[in-house]
């Protein structure tokens, strides 16, 4: 028999979302994913499985990539959250967003926010990752469209640009290898 779900007494927490402190009230059993999408109207973070199996809902919590479907909203009191909406500065995209768009690393786009944030955490920690390091860091994000290759290329190009290099996509990235 289901227990009645308490409707009164929402929990109130204060957290920093995309650089801004905010207070938010919600039912105590809500996950961070639900709080972001439903109570903070940040729908860029996508819902894939609710069991931590796909990486689609990845956000940065105190700079570490976490699965927001497996974090209680309440556990985020006083912590820092970054979502895809916080990556761009105004309309200027983060280099990762630019390269994902330019190189075809986003197809249907549904897994993209999760990949972007996981990749950002990687590049924050390791400005010059090898392919194996990219692989190891992004292996928890599933993509059903791209085959991942364009994602490597996008992360590598963004890494170069973030290092201040005047990097352009390789010819083989655009036209394929012969």
């Amino acid at each position: 028999m289901p227990r009645p779900r308490p409707t009164a007494d929402p929990a109130v927490i204060t957290l920093e979302v995309n650089g801004e402190r905010c207070a938010v009230a919600f039912a105590p059993h809500k996950t961070l994913l639900e709080v972001l999408r439903e109570d903070l109207d940040l729908t860029g973070t996508k819902h894939g499985c609710e069991l931590g199996e796909c990486g689609t809902c990845t956000v940065l919590l105190d700079d570490a990539p976490v699965l927001s479907c497996l974090v209680l909203g309440l556990a985020c009191d006083g912590r820092r959250v970054r979502t895809v909406e916080g990556m761009a500065e105004g309309a200027r995209l983060h280099p990762l967003q630019e390269t994902f768009a330019d190189l075809g690393a986003a197809q249907c786009g549904y897994c993209t926010p999760g990949f972007l944030l996981t990749a950002q955490a990687l590049l924050d920690a390791n400005p010059r990752p090898t392919r194996d390091e990219i692989k190891a860091a992004l292996a928890g994000n599933l993509c059903r469209c791209t085959g991942y290759l364009k994602i490597y290329e996008a992360v590598e190009l963004a890494a170069a640009r973030l290092r201040g290099e005047d990097a352009e996509p390789a010819r083989e990235t655009l036209y394929g290898r012969r």
Binding site: P4, G48, E50, C108, A136, A139
Partner: protein, 773 residues
């Protein structure tokens, strides 16, 4: 000539309108925009989090819907008590088989018509009841409060037992969907008699599930008698027609909008029950309703690539002539006829020259969710059998596997009564692919090294063709140019993540001499666009791009006529480039579009384009050959796919990047099909799905897919297939993949694993049987 009945599965059950036909367009020569690796026109939206998918939508007063699903594989619902649920806080509606709801019935495939909530539940996950509540949590809680009395029935979970005496019956009509389909040409007995070698092998593929990253879902809103559905779909018109038919409404009152969707792979081609449920919940409550399925629901109830059982007997002469092929295939539609063996035999029928072919297909029913078209229905399975058999034949006669395939490349579609192909790039796919891969060198190197360690190297090839992929009518596109030189393209087709919008903007830009990003696109909305078939079957580009081109050419014609009048020159001397009318003869004659007085007076010009028919008595078919290298750890059965080279003839490359996207994505899906993905039913006990979650159902991760993949486009300059020369690429890209891996595993280990997925479970067992490990 008789078309395969399933050839156009993606428009099955849909009455197609007849449209006008645009006049013939000259084939393009060199293109300025088309073919370039241009980024997607909607890239910003998709990377910034601003693209609104149906699940992201919130409307004022919106309720949340949820569906209660049958937990048993086979049961009769004898009673449903929703009183307790309906009285719970926030619950606004509860629908069941026993609530009067306009007696909605849902037509299934093949004329089976049932109640929306059919009390006879034939699969785990069948809809039993639905609720709408103020919050998603209240809706889920209400579902748990619904009391259902089930009378469990014996179930059938393994299609291999479907025709055994005493097998539980899935439907009153029995466990076979329709008659066994037989195809025959020539005389296989004579063919086998002519052969020097005859091989006979059984193969099996486990059931694969689409699981796009985005869950299935929609938002339904009524405005008086008008229904609007924001739907995650591959075809808004498919949904419009089915919902209208189910609810007895005129098409004009059902608007379906599908701007962004997060992948479908065939599972979102047809209309799901939940869309009708959402519409009814919204109608009952007079409130908008959002209904998004859970991951578990998508694993159970919205389609799959059914398991298939195949046997292939093939004969070959020492010179490489294939003398006969006989194929038996069976598969499981699920709980209703749903194409359980759809196109399974097509690779055997049509990939290689063979005078004597006989195939038999038997579609079976089981108590599991119905199949749906899944990226190249039947083909990866059929290729799994055929392409491994080709390797075995090559080995038996001591011929190189690539050479045997090249020896048997057809120029006509034998299964269509020997009609010629508009273009046949299969030979080039094999030869150029082999060259790019270094086929001969790497095979020689492996032979020289002797492959002695625990980890063994192997390479494999497989080829394929895709029955559809040529596209065809109908399609209607509208292009409008404004006085400021900006352009609007209006089309009904969906962009399911493949880049359709981008490619079509490039087609318009090519003809109108404007930048692709000057082309604004209105699409996938039955309220504001023209009819389009669903985006599936690798036919979106070859179907839509000629219509879009024709519409742009119509605008161009009008612009040039205006300009010729104003510039007082012959219209035939003018063309459009860089936002200007220019003369092909006199560089001094030029006028910016914005300075065209005729355009300024009219404010806009509109062109309409229609998709003409494909050439008569010709077949339009994409071809492919893929090559891969693997490392097999014979102690653990782990297979590492090291690299892939994919050579594809899909006609003109419309956009290098979106083309590569399809190829690499197709390979990855093929790796899943071949190595990791499998629906596991608890066949011996409960019939329920055991791996009902997304880690036990294993999609390939970055660690399972090689970072070394090469795409070799073969463009045979097909000027006949349609006005843009493009054939489909989405499906061909996944057809040969698993078979190429299977052949590489055999090359590495000498063990032929005929049953996918080839995970360590099966490979270790196979190696142990042979005394390895």
């Amino acid at each position: 000539m008789k078309e395969h009945p399933d050839a156009q599965y993606y428009i099955r059950g849909i009455e197609l309108p007849e449209t006008e036909v645009s006049t013939d367009l000259e084939p393009w020569g060199e293109t300025r925009v088309v073919g370039k690796p241009l980024p997607r026109v909607d890239g910003y939206e998709r990377v910034s989090g601003t693209a609104v998918y149906p699940a992201d939508l919130t409307l004022p007063g919106m309720l949340y819907g949820a569906i209660l699903r049958c937990p048993h594989p086979h049961a009769m619902v004898t009673a449903v008590d929703v009183r307790r649920a309906a009285a719970m806080p926030g619950v606004r509606a509860a629908l069941t088989a026993f609530t009067p709801l306009d007696r909605a019935t849902r037509p299934h495939a093949d004329m089976i018509r049932t109640q929306l909530f059919d009390p006879h539940c034939r699969f785990q996950g069948e809809a039993v009841a639905a609720v709408a509540a103020e919050t998603a949590y209240q809706a889920r809680d209400a579902l748990r409060a619904i009391q259902v009395q089930y009378e469990e029935r014996p179930f059938l979970a393994d299609e291999r037992k479907a025709l055994e005496p005493g097998a539980p019956q899935v439907r009153d009509s029995g466990n076979q969907a329709g008659e066994t389909q037989v195809y025959q040409r020539g005389d296989v007995a004579r063919g086998f008699a002519e052969a020097d070698v005859v091989l006979d092998q059984e193969y099996r593929n486990e059931c694969e599930i689409h699981t796009p990253m985005e869950l299935h879902g929609c938002v339904a809103r009524w405005d008086g008698d008008r229904l609007t559905l924001w739907e995650s779909t591959q075809g808004v018109y498919n949904v419009q027609m089915q919902v209208a038919a189910t609810l007895g409404m005129p098409f004009s009152l059902v608007r379906v909008v599908g701007h962004y969707m997060g992948g479908g792979f065939g599972s979102k081609l047809q209309t799901s029950k939940y869309s009708v449920v959402a519409a009814l919940l919204a109608k009952t409550t007079a409130r908008p309703v959002k209904l998004v399925l859970t991951r578990e629901e998508t694993l159970l109830a919205v389609g799959n690539r059914p398991a298939s059982n195949m046997r292939l007997k093939a004969g070959v002469k020492r010179d490489g002539t294939i003398t006969a092929m006989q194929f038996w295939g069976s598969g499981a539609s699920g709980s209703e006829p749903a194409g359980g063996v759809s196109l399974l035999d097509w690779p055997v029928r049509d990939t290689y020259t063979c005078a004597n072919v006989r195939t038999e297909l038997t579609d079976l029913l089981i108590n599991a969710g119905p199949a749906r078209p899944f990226r190249a229905p039947g083909h990866p399975q059929g290729a799994w059998a055929l392409e491994q058999m080709m390797d075995a034949l090559a080995e038996a006669i001591g011929m190189d596997p690539v050479a045997l395939r090249v020896r048997n490349v057809p120029t006509v579609s034998q299964a269509r009564g020997n009609v010629p192909y508009t273009s046949t790039g299969l030979r080039q796919c094999l030869e150029q692919g082999a060259a790019a891969f270094g086929w001969d060198a790497v095979r020689a190197e492996i032979a020289r090294q002797g492959n002695r360690g625990t980890v063994k190297r192997g390479v494999g090839v497989a080829a394929g063709l895709w029955v559809a992929g040529g596209g065809g009518p109908p399609s209607t596109a509208v292009v409008k140019i404004f006085a400021d030189g900006s352009v609007n393209l209006n089309m009904g087709a969906s962009d399911i993540g493949t880049g359709t919008k981008t490619v079509m903007a490039m087609v318009v830009a090519e003809e109108l001499g404007v930048a692709p990003d000057a082309v604004e696109i209105e699409h996938a909305d039955t309220g504001s666009t023209q009819f389009a078939t669903g985006s599936g079957g690798s036919k979106t580009v070859p179907t839509e791009s000629p219509a879009v081109r024709a519409a742009a050419v119509d605008v161009k014609r009008q612009l040039l006529e205006l300009a010729a009048e104003e510039l007082k020159v012959e219209v035939s001397t003018l063309t459009l480039r860089d936002g200007k009318v220019v003369s092909t003869q006199d560089p001094a004659v030029t006028r910016s579009l914005t300075e065209l007085q005729g355009l300024r007076r009219r404010r806009s010009l509109t062109g309409v384009g229609y998709r003409g028919p494909n050439p008569a008595n010709k077949a339009v078919t994409p071809f492919a050959a893929q090559f891969c290298e693997v490392e097999v750890d014979t102690a653990s059965g782990e297979v590492r796919v090291v690299r892939f080279v994919a050579a594809h003839d899909s006609g003109r490359v419309m956009n290098q990047l979106t083309y590569q996207n399809q190829v690499f994505g197709g390979i990855t899906m093929g790796i899943g099909f071949g190595l990791t993905e499998e629906r596991v039913l608890d066949v011996d006990q409960t019939g329920k799905m055991a791996n009902l979650n997304w880690h036990d159902y294993k999609l390939p991760t970055m660690l399972d897919v090689p970072a070394d993949m090469t795409c070799v486009p073969i463009d045979p300059k097909d000027t006949e297939c349609n006005a843009t020369g493009a054939k489909g690429i989405g499906e061909p890209a996944t057809i040969p993949t698993a078979a190429a891996i299977g052949n590489a595993i055999y090359h590495a280990t000498g063990v032929r694993v005929t049953h996918t997925p080839v995970d360590p479970l099966r490979l270790v067992a196979a190696l142990a049987e042979r005394g390895e490990g």
